[in-house]
Symmetry: C2
Subunit: 350 residues, 2 copies
């Protein structure tokens, strides 16, 4: 009579369904699907089970698995703003490496706001992420440091904390500055100003320190070098700093900027004041982000390995998670290289 099949099953098949059709117990199916346990099962049984899985198009429910194992195979990625051209390739590196290991990434944008960062980090944890990669940390980030201390897997990328206990993957900021300074000096520049980034960020601080140190070392000038400080790493601040330099009337033939965005702003300001880059003043950047080879003039800069720092950060966090949270090799610093384009040229004759 009413032995018709029920009205359209939409539900995804579960382990139980597979077990029933294969005539075995659910745990047998579970083991068959677990690469670490499938050697325990007889081959014929495995065959049978695999066949049923295929037939039903069975997909394990990762939520259920997560609840049981307390692992989500998901990593939180905390970024200031994905719209900042520096971050997409870093994120892509992270994503690719994670995906290759069966992990997924949840990205949140903090806009550099500490409160937002804390709040978003909490929601990531509430979602059960297994670890966090943070690209948005200031040098003193109490919240991140605290979580790391508690044993939660965290690595920072591109920037790092002053606190050395939080592992990081960064660029060789020091060498980058040295390299580009050497380049400018070789072009005959002696009056070189540094447009520095925010000193609350490791990148801003390290690059400014390197500038001061190598400037003293290479140029051996009596007076200390001129450094103007930007409040954030963006074009508007680059413009403001350039204006400030011009206003002060500091004699200068080159502006070594702490990143590309500052350089872009500086170039705009200099041009607006009728200066030619690089004929009147050379301007250099740092990062070699997308499209800086197409701007006017194409930017001389330091190429960092965006994609690779991302991949390395992902590898590091995965290692921490597997080895139960022990930092594998504290701080990784990737090499950088100079890319000479047209924004730097011979120092003008006085």
């Amino acid at each position: 009579m009413d032995d018709r099949t029920p009205p359209e099953r939409k539900k995804r098949p579960t382990l139980k369904d597979v077990a029933r059709l294969a005539g075995v117990h659910v745990s047998t199916v579970s083991r068959t699907l677990d690469p670490n346990a499938d050697h325990l099962i007889r081959d014929e049984v495995k065959e049978k089970i695999r066949a049923v899985c295929r037939e039903l198009n069975y997909r394990p429910n990762s939520i259920a698995s997560s609840l049981r194992t307390n692992r989500t195979k998901t990593i939180g990625v905390v970024i200031p703003d994905i719209t900042n051209l520096l971050f997409p390739p870093i994120f892509r590196g992270i994503e690719d490496e994670l995906a290759a290991q069966g992990y997924a990434a949840i990205m949140v944008n903090t806009d550099g706001d500490a409160d937002r960062e804390e709040q978003l980090t909490e929601t990531l944890i509430a979602r059960g992420v297994d670890g966090i990669i943070a690209a948005s940390v200031p040098r003193q980030d109490a919240h991140i440091a605290r979580m790391a201390q508690r044993g939660f897997p965290i690595v920072t990328v591109n920037r790092r904390l002053d606190d050395p206990s939080v592992p990081s993957v960064t660029n060789d900021d020091d060498f980058g500055i040295k390299r580009i300074l050497t380049h400018l000096v070789a072009l005959g520049h002696r009056r070189i100003v540094h447009i520095a980034g925010p000193q609350s960020l490791s990148t801003g601080k390290l690059r400014a320190e390197a500038f001061a140190r190598y400037h003293a070392e290479i140029l051996e000038q009596a007076e200390p070098p001129v450094i103007v400080y930007a409040e954030s790493f963006n074009e508007a601040e680059g413009e403001r700093c350039a204006e400030q330099i011009l206003a002060k009337g500091t004699p200068v033939t080159a502006a070594l900027c702490a990143n590309d965005r500052l350089a872009i702003g500086a170039i705009a300001a200099f041009k607006r004041r009728g200066l030619k880059v690089p004929e009147d003043i050379s301007v250099t950047g740092f990062n070699d982000m997308a499209l800086v080879d197409r701007i006017d003039p194409p930017l001389t800069t330091i190429r960092i390995q965006h994609y690779e720092i991302g991949r390395n950060a992902a590898r590091m966090i995965l290692a921490m998670i597997e080895n139960g949270t022990l930092p594998p090799d504290g701080h990784k610093v990737l090499p950088v290289e100079l890319v000479v384009r047209q924004s730097s040229g011979p120092a003008p004759r006085p």
Copy 2:
């Protein structure tokens, strides 16, 4: 004697812990925390429970909740490549809107590969995403169409399927082309070539069709307009197409490109051949992606609302999920505007 506190509890508190401390049943706690059910609980009890939650710093375990409710509050975002400057602002729009509604985004990069897309989409579904926003679809995307037909919430953004049953949020491609063509004609151009995008993508197709239609309408020329087709939306193809135009010797005073990256490539090729942009030839783009205002020459283009199409796509998918998968308003098309910069100028006198 041994009434010391146990040796360091690391575990997160659970509903059960809260219930015990508050002297109520777990279900009472659960209701208190559920905005849709908390009216059932007496105020004093709620107070008590809230206090305990605060004291324990209780955070609901969203995994457990997901397992029970079969909802993860997570959306999959399928993008060709976040490294492509078009996508970061779109993704940011998606992310912001989702976050505001308590949802998170998992992003995957397909590199435009259909197999990868299918495979990655499957893993998203296995992870239990409640819906998918796809920015990477070709016009005929069997896989996406099939999933949508099955009732899985999907919306496409920036591009759309030919199949009208899959909802989308796109730009007014047709008007954008009309607007920029009008601009060029107003500058005196009569020999305008179109560097078209891949015809397998809605953007490529729609823009090329619009070009042909409005060209005929506005210029009323006997011969059909010249269109060269790029195989993908990138700089290299822009260069190739520009070379091809030059090689053919087609007389042309303006190249209307289907997007900014093609325009950037075309400009590079024209310059390399000694042509000046815009004095000898005007070049225009589409999208107004980051930094095209800083390249040489600054690009005349159509500004799309990157961020807003992202937000709208997020809103649409959330509506579908809440209303149980009913497309709320099929296809949303956001307005675009012309941005005139220096890559377009008066047609040269012959």
